[in-house]
């Protein structure tokens, strides 16, 4: 069924409208704005549910920038609905929870407005089907998470974290944009018309892939788009922003880690999977090489880092990266199990991770610390929380019969088959998957263990959380149980959850979709064995958790940490800037003029050389003796200026040059010029002398090596001018426009009493100035008038600073 356009639009834009209204709402409702926001999310959730129940599938498109072929288009299918479901559903819970968590905190209007915009952006990412529309929402998630991570604006840790997430995710987004443009370019090669529409790209996946391969752009496009997904989904080595993002208020972390932001990356990988992965794709194509390896590496590295964490939110943050790695790796495998694993784990991860973050928020809020070493035995004070935490942690650990187990089992299956069919080194896939999962087991159990055992002495009084904070994680916990039950009972593909995951599977797989169902393993398949190994090894290692924790921390120093590179790059950039700029922009006119003039010389001579200009042959002096003599004196005058011992001597010799130029004008039959030059030269002389009167006798001794360098540049400039003059005087264009001016300047022999079609003056130069090119003169007298204003301003505005 085609989705109802209004419903789709409402889903995406309702949160934005609500965000815009939030400041006003806040004035009326105060802290209860949380419920306004939650209600907004609930409406979206309801609409998404309605779309889903109606079996909506199809495109909704509005013109946006028709001249660029960009539209505001949305596509509703299983994957889109899954992400929209999670975003709006978790959104309801998070916003409700915020009502309790943010009690009494400043900046709530901004907080809820941004959070709603964040929700809207995520819904937009999920539903957008135009690459540009998608990118718009994609960057808006980065932007709103920037603002949310930096919510506590005066904390330097928040500032650091926000900038880090912005630098990594927005940069990644730009790389992705370039990747998109390569896809669009390829669509132009493969299809009659290039397109931004994801749907059209997916429908013509084979043709697009061929066009990309033919132009050698398949790998670049894949890598660029992959960079966008990897930065967003915190894949190694871009995972580093995610732990810092816990500086945000805990509800934001929960939202960001479970249902928004980071899910955008895996969403994109899933969305583009059928584009890059054909049904007959090779087992180890570019796609698998990139994403399976990236995902497994992230899964393992982040799980190890989670074990090294000392803070519960940090632990959960690394765990998020690790699970996203799992999803990416699943999508990476070119078999159906991979697609199933990815689709199912998106749902499972959202359910248990959101619950765990909310639990962490309760712990931090009520116990007053997030230090793992200080927390234990919380069960006594927080019984309900403990139950939720246990369920969610076991699901995260991949322990049957919880839902996390089933999606991980599918990953093992995918990895196993991939390894088996590739053979040899291909077996590294299942091995690494198990290796990483062991650490997942370890930190998950560790998290659950915080609620058990002896109560830590350092813990003060632990409050009970308010209902608003307890109900949302409880609901999530129930969701975990629900999915677990459905899977364990081995219900068929037509049950709601399985049908839903089946739709998602359809979206991320090339070819025809088939039904989805999982069931509890009843025989010892290789992948069931992998699960068993994971749990057994994990259980065996758990007693040594603290030693592992210390050992990993001891190893993770310096360049081994990606953070070391990030901080080094950012600080290095800053240091480079601080260090180099003073030597480039050194305040010395000499440096500036040298660069500028040298560049002019290079450009000019390069231009002449590139065009193959030949210097004209010498044809005699072409000049009369008087002119020659005058020019000679002028040059002597100029030389004298250069070596003048004092300012006065220099000004006087400069005047000699000026007067010689005047005489040159006379000899060149330019009487007007000569007159003007004479008078102006006199005026300049007077002003020079007046000003020099006030200046000290500083002449700056000449440094030999500098003078030599300057002389080289001066010679180069001189040579450029020499060539230019020679080349241009040798040219003789036919019919220069001056001819017309000379002919029409005077009074025509036959003329009416009034005419405008001739100059009407004998002095052609003046006629040009006041008639032919009076417009130039208009500009020139403006300049002259401004000179006067300039000097007035210079003298009268002194002592008046800009900020008074």
């Amino acid at each position: 069924m085609q989705p109802t356009p209004e419903v789709v639009l409402a889903v995406v834009f309702l949160p934005f409208v609500a965000a815009a209204l939030t400041p006003a709402v806040f004035r009326v409702l105060g802290e209860r704005t949380a419920y306004f926001a939650a209600a907004t999310a609930l409406v979206c959730f309801g609409l998404v549910t309605q779309l889903s129940l109606a079996g909506a599938h199809g495109t909704v498109s509005y013109e946006w920038i028709p001249s660029l072929g960009v539209s505001l288009a949305f596509y509703v299918d299983g994957l889109a609905l899954l992400i929209a479901f999670l975003a709006s559903g978790v959104g309801v819970l998070i916003l409700t929870y915020s009502g309790g968590y943010m009690h009494g905190e400043p900046g709530q209007a901004k907080y809820y407005a941004t959070l709603l915009a964040f929700l809207g952006s995520m819904l937009g990412v999920a539903l957008a089907s135009d690459l540009i529309s998608l990118f718009v929402f994609w960057e808006l998630t980065s932007l709103s998470s920037f603002l949310l991570i930096g919510h506590y604006t005066s904390e330097s840790a928040s500032k650091y974290a926000a900038r880090k997430s912005m630098l990594i995710t927005v940069s990644g987004g730009l790389f992705m944009l370039v990747g998109f443009l390569l896809l669009v370019w390829a669509s132009g090669q493969a299809l009659p018309e290039s397109t931004y529409s994801l749907v059209v790209l997916l429908e013509n996946a084979d043709a697009i892939r061929e066009a990309l391969t033919a132009s050698g752009l398949l790998v670049p496009a894949l890598v660029l788009v992959g960079l966008g997904a990897a930065t967003k989904s915190a894949q190694v080595p871009f995972h580093i922003w995610l732990p810092n993002a816990m500086e945000a208020p805990t509800p934001v972390s929960a939202f960001l880690h479970s249902a928004t932001m980071v899910k955008a990356g895996v969403y994109l990988v899933g969305r583009l999977r059928p584009l890059f992965l054909s049904e007959e794709a090779p087992l180890l194509g570019e796609w698998t090489l990139l994403f399976a390896i990236l995902g497994l590496a992230t899964m393992t590295v982040a799980a190890i880092l989670a074990v090294s964490s000392t803070d519960i939110k940090e632990l959960l943050a690394y765990s998020t990266a690790s699970h996203l790695g799992l999803i990416v790796a699943s999508f990476g495998f070119a078999n159906e199990y991979g697609a199933e694993a990815g689709a199912f784990h998106i749902l499972n991860h959202a359910s248990f991770k959101a619950a765990l973050f909310l639990v962490a928020g309760i712990v931090a809020h009520e116990a007053g610390t997030r230090q793992i070493s200080k927390l234990s035995g919380l069960r006594k004070h927080l019984p309900v929380t403990a139950a939720i935490a246990t369920v969610a942690s076991l699901s995260m650990a991949g322990i049957p019969p919880f839902n996390g187990f089933y999606s991980k089992e599918l990953l093992f299956e995918a990895a196993w088959y991939a390894g088996k069919e590739i053979g040899g080194l291909g077996y590294l896939f299942p091995v690494v998957a198990v290796f990483g999962s062991v650490f997942t087991f370890l930190y998950s159990v560790k998290f659950a263990s915080l609620f058990f055992g002896e109560e830590n002495d350092n813990l003060g009084h632990v409050h009970s959380p308010p209902a608003t904070m307890l109900v949302p994680p409880a609901i999530l916990g129930l969701l975990v149980l629900g999915i677990s039950a459905s899977a364990t009972l081995g219900l068929g593909p037509e049950t709601p959850i399985n049908a839903f995951v089946g739709h998602v599977y359809g979206s991320v797989s090339p070819g025809d979709p088939h039904g989805f169902s999982v069931h509890f393993p009843t025989e010892l398949s290789p992948y069931a064995a992998m699960s068993a190994v994971t749990i057994l090894v994990g259980a065996a290692l758990f007693p040594f958790y603290d030693r592992l924790h210390d050992g990993i921390n001891a190893l993770l120093r310096g360049p081994v940490r990606a953070n070391w590179w990030y901080d080094g790059a950012v600080e290095g950039l800053s240091a480079t800037s601080v260090r180099t700029i003073p030597s480039v922009q050194n305040g010395l006119l000499r440096t500036y003029a040298t660069w500028a003039l040298a560049s002019v010389t290079v450009l000019a001579l390069g231009g002449y050389a590139a065009a193959g200009v030949s210097l004209p042959a010498f044809e005699g002096f072409a000049i009369t003796l008087p002119i020659f003599l005058v020019l000679l004196v002028a040059v002597v005058g100029a030389v004298a200026v250069d070596i003048a011992p004092s300012h006065v001597a220099g000004v006087l010799t400069l005047s000699i040059l000026g007067f010689m130029v005047a005489i040159f004008y006379i000899l060149a039959d330019a009487p007007d010029l000569a007159l003007t030059q004479l008078v102006v030269e006199t005026l300049v002389l007077v002003i020079f002398l007046l000003v020099l009167n006030r200046l000290p006798a500083f002449y700056g001794e000449v440094n030999r090596s500098r003078a030599a360098r300057d002389a080289v540049l001066a010679l180069a400039v001189g040579a450029t001018v020499f060539v230019t003059v020679l080349v241009t005087t040798a040219a003789s264009p036919a019919e220069p426009i001056a001819g017309f001016l000379a002919e029409n300047a005077g009074v025509p022999a036959e003329h009416p009493p009034f005419f405008t079609n001739a100059g009407g003056g004998g002095n052609i130069v003046n006629v040009i100035l006041v008639d032919f090119r009076a417009f130039d003169t208009m500009g020139e007298i403006s300049v002259v008038a401004m000179t006067a204003l300039a000097i007035l301003t210079l003298i009268r505005m002194r002592e008046r600073g800009e900020t008074q």
Partner: protein
Amino acid sequence: MSTVVIAPLLVALVTAIATLVTRTNLTVQRAVSLLGGVGYLAAAALLFRSVVLPLGSAGRTIVYQVSGWQAPFGIVLVADPLSAFMVGFASLVSLGALAYSVLYVDAYGQKLSYHTLYHFMVVGVTGSFLTGDIFNLFVWFEVMLMSSYILVLFYSGPEHTRAALNYVVLNLLGSAVMLLAIGGLYATTGTLNMADLAQRLADGSNVAVTPVLGLSAVLFSVFALKAGLVPFQFWVPAAYRAAPAPVTAMLAGVVKKVGVYAIVRLYFTVFAAASLPVSLPFVSGDSVLAFFGPVMFLMATASIVLGGVGAVGRTDLDELLAYSSISQVGFILLPLAVAATAESAAVRTLGVAATLVYAFNHALAKSLLFLASGTVQEAVGTARFDQLGGLARRAPILATGFLLGALTLIGVPPLSGFFGKLLVFQTAAGAFSGSAAGAGAALAVALAGAVLTIAYYTRAWNDAFWGAPGPAVEASLPGRWSGPVEIGAEEGEGTTGSDDFALTGQVTVVLVLALAAVGFGIGFDALYASATAAARAALDTQGYVDAVLGSAAALAGVVG
């Protein structure tokens, strides 16, 4: 009626003189000046309507023969979609900066010369955009420069005189070099009219074409100097810091773009007409653009890198913005470099359109940012990062404006700046069919520059707007000051002072420009359609020549 072509220029010119004559009464003078600014916007809109609209059409070219002398003998003003586009965005920024000036510049300065100089700067800019004559272009450059010289050192002070000295000397050298190049072009081709020049170069039978490449290269350095491209960028940081905020907004927003416009107009419309074999060690071609493509690419790359790296480590908000300006002009030039060597006409059009869109967006965003920085300085007394901090809490509206400006330059959608970046990337990607290596290099440069942009704007934001309030902020904005509209003022109390009206007005200007950036992003279709029309006009040499010289013949009949 073709008077619409000269109307913006005349409005600005008359306003400049009127502010000179009415200087005895500040109120009248301000009113005249603002009225002139509005009139200029209206004239620009009229021009835009006559030349570019309806959107999606190829547009028209209207020629105005100043003094009634036919082209190529007299001076012509030519309004085609390219010129109208430039005048249009100049009018937007200049009205914003003017309104800001009235609230910002001290009364004595306004009375003395500020308004006159400001409008003369607009005159110079407008003349440069509209003229069809290369010597006339020189004249308007001089008008623009003379006013900018003095506006840069409007407030005397050691930093200002020093900055102005470098600025003035470099530009005086530039003027001499420009005169040399124009003289050389006249000597080789015998004409000053751009259309005639293009025609004579295309014809090639009556003129020696070979020297033109060298001469146009000399001229290119002048435009690069105006645009502040590496290695002619030296004057930029100090001059931008020295000038009063609204002047910097104009310098960065509009005056710089004159250099960019001149490059588009002269190199793509005029010099490209010359059929001239060009051979360089790595490139060869049969157009001057084969030479300028690599030149522009090198300059753009160097500007992006130097400006970007330079901006990251600055200690002062104004200085950071100035370096950003160098970097952003690199972005503006980059698509032109691709367009210069692109084989496909579509990519060439796209490249020029990308340049124009980026220039437009930069004009909007950078003027907004400089104005915001000016308000910070006026409210707090300094723009040094170590004195700032916490402004997001203390002045939320101003902070919002600044954030939007920074985001549009970073390229966050749906702000207009995003589309600038998109088109730059698209141009580079489009070059894949021509030279994959070139496209790859252009993409790499653009991406590196984009990452640098994020790095320095997040730094500016973190140090000035987030964090604990710095000493200067704590001293001058002890409470929360919300500007024109109070949003969520749940804490602290607004400070009231005598400056409040002026500051509120300034913040309003910043906010209006920020909203314009949002508006042009969401309504990008109109902007893109006009930029495309402008790009087509810029690349249509024959159309330009026909419009200028053809209508001249028609007019000669009327007059004769």
